[in-house]
Symmetry: C4
Subunit: 230 residues, 4 copies
């Protein structure tokens, strides 16, 4: 069951150390199965080298384990909240990548200082507040998900497919697990470029809206001309 | 046809990830064929691992596709403007390498703070302004090329074979595709050294003209004595 | 004798260059043997590639060599002081890893700016003062150990299993040599994140105590739910 | 002739890219042959991958080529000046390593902020001024060597075996080519640590003299106890 989706999730998780987005077991990726609507996610605390399709965990959107003998990622409820609110999201990636996490720790958003950013993120990547103690007392991971959902309520989550969580790390989104990881790589690189930009020139300005539009749309707009026709 | 030039362009594009100048498909290299005058360039959005001589795209200077079934790089018109204006340019490389792009995002030129710079770039590497909306509305990539051409009008483009584009990235030039990539590696390393220099000492000064002359000329001048006689 | 412990110490020392925590011979790891209570430690100044189980040095807690023909690490007495004072410490790692050492050289503690820190270190990682000349004159390495012991007197050393030594480097602790090295990797990564955080935002604040508690306890508390049940 | 020394110089030059001290052909190492007193040095502008024992160049101290069909490194005269003045120097390494060169470009010395430095360099690593135009007009490389010699006149060159050249790069020294390269690796790492220290805490202080003495002497003093007895 769900063999394709398990294979995708396995591969996407194994891509995290290859792209140097994680140390040890510090990241997790999930994907929504197109047929059943179930979510396949990494087991908690298992090394990427030890992952197989068989130790992936399958859950329904309410968090009931459908298949798998391992505990799912401790961040599972955060993933589920986002999948429930945004049907267009098919893959989610969570990491503590170094530069993006530094922005999260500094409590700063990632603004569009260049076209590298504009090629993937249509505007500022937001930075969510730290949860209140009362929220953490009830359910830390679920309230983290609710906060993410709320921040994207008036935005197109797949047009700006990433968010920083203050004092914590990064979530990125996509139409697949692979694309969510791809966006995490881009966000980390953009965060590094922006770190260097801001420490070189603290008053640097984001690019103008019309350049942001141009780059985003030549890749993702309806008249996109980047890449090959499929 | 153009087998040598295609092989050169393939190799030069494959060198980009080896030198860590790109993520994913974020860079492109082209070369002018010495016999036909045609330009061979990377296909748009194709992974470096999937490139072969056969999917390279051959164009004339007006952008007509002479050979190839793939779309050429979305930045092709920028390359063509430079080839049309400067016959001495035989290879062009475009990347978003991290440190050089940070200078571009900060809107800062790369000054000659040391002899590493002087060995390859005879003076300050310029930083072009962001295009006006009216220019982007007409033809973004072509006007980018026109702007580069204008900036080098009163300079020797092969003596300072690189330019930053504000809020965007880097173009470098050479007498071959290989040399253009070589210059992109140097520019990225010089950008990193200059970033560190300026954050250590914000009032650091460029080296004096006579030291710039000495280093540039011992490598490129008519009495150059660096390297082996050919 | 002590074959298991020797194998652990060998592997833990060889992990130092793999994790890029050391240049040349700049780090050492030891472990306490569970049966004999003896300490097994790296020989001084031997390259990691040349280490074998047989050139490990076995000592009692007073520093008498029980087995081995090599000189033990020059930092041995520091290890022994900590083992004597804290029976729960079973492994110790000493390195000059780049970012953590920069905090030590700057004389700054490593505060908990994020959950990456909170997942492993329950609060601020302290920075010990430089020894007085009088202490160095008597026994540099032993007094370094005494100072570490004193700083953890009113703390749980395995809950905040690391310390910076001003102007010097890092010691980390664990329930095994492997865990001590693991904590050194985490401390270096956290130091890098904090360096970036502080240079982006010099007035950044540590995370609130309740978030520190939540993350530390979901991994290490009595109701921990991170990872798989053993 | 000089087969041992050629092998040493070959190996030492090949170590430069392995230690990431150079891009392309940007560094050179030489060694003094113990029997003949001749100097063996890298040929100019040859890639490290293409080096063999046979293309090494052998010179006497006055710069006459004794053996070899290649041009010697363009920095040869700098090496020779140092060998002539300091018979105890047996190996010399010149690189533009990133962090050390940034200090050189910033015109800053490398102070002893920690014991990593003290383990190899007995005090501040100096930064030589830029040569005057008149000196460059006569002989750039020779006057560079004369300036280095002058700066070490009242110092023990092998106790602080490295120097920065303002706006240029680094020279390091040793009792062999291998040791000179070793010292270049250390100087680059110490430069990186000091860069991070100073950007974290611009008023950080060097370690006290007695700690510098302790670390330098436990490794190099007459009662040194670091490492194994030979």
């Amino acid at each position: 069951m769900l063999q394709n989706t398990k294979a995708n999730v396995l591969k996407a998780n194994q891509a995290l150390p290859k792209h140097e987005l994680v140390k040890f077991t510090w990241g997790n990726v999930s994907e929504r199965d197109p047929e059943t609507g179930y979510i396949v996610i990494k087991p908690s605390g298992v090394n990427y080298d030890d992952l197989t399709e068989n130790n992936m965990v399958v859950l329904d959107l309410d968090g009931h384990i459908i298949e798998g003998t391992y505990n799912p990622s401790s961040d599972t409820k955060t993933h589920l909240e986002v999948y429930k609110a945004y049907p267009q999201v098919k893959g989610i990636c969570h990491v503590h990548s170094t530069y993006a996490t530094a922005f999260a720790q500094a409590g700063k958003t990632i603004e569009a200082f260049g076209t590298t950013h504009a090629d993937y993120f249509y505007g500022t990547v937001p930075c969510a507040r730290i949860l209140h103690q009362s929220e953490i007392d009830v359910d830390y991971e679920q309230y983290t998900g609710k906060l993410i959902v709320q921040i994207f309520e008036d935005k197109d989550i797949l047009a700006t497919p990433g968010i920083l969580l203050k004092g914590h790390g990064v979530f990125t989104f996509g139409k697949s697990a692979d694309q969510a990881v791809h966006n995490a790589v881009v966000l980390e690189e953009v965060a590094k470029m922006n770190y260097l930009t801001l420490t070189l020139n603290p008053t640097a300005n984001p690019i103008p809206q019309y350049l942001l539009d141009k780059h985003y749309n030549r890749k993702h707009g309806k008249n996109a001309y980047y890449g090959q026709k499929k």
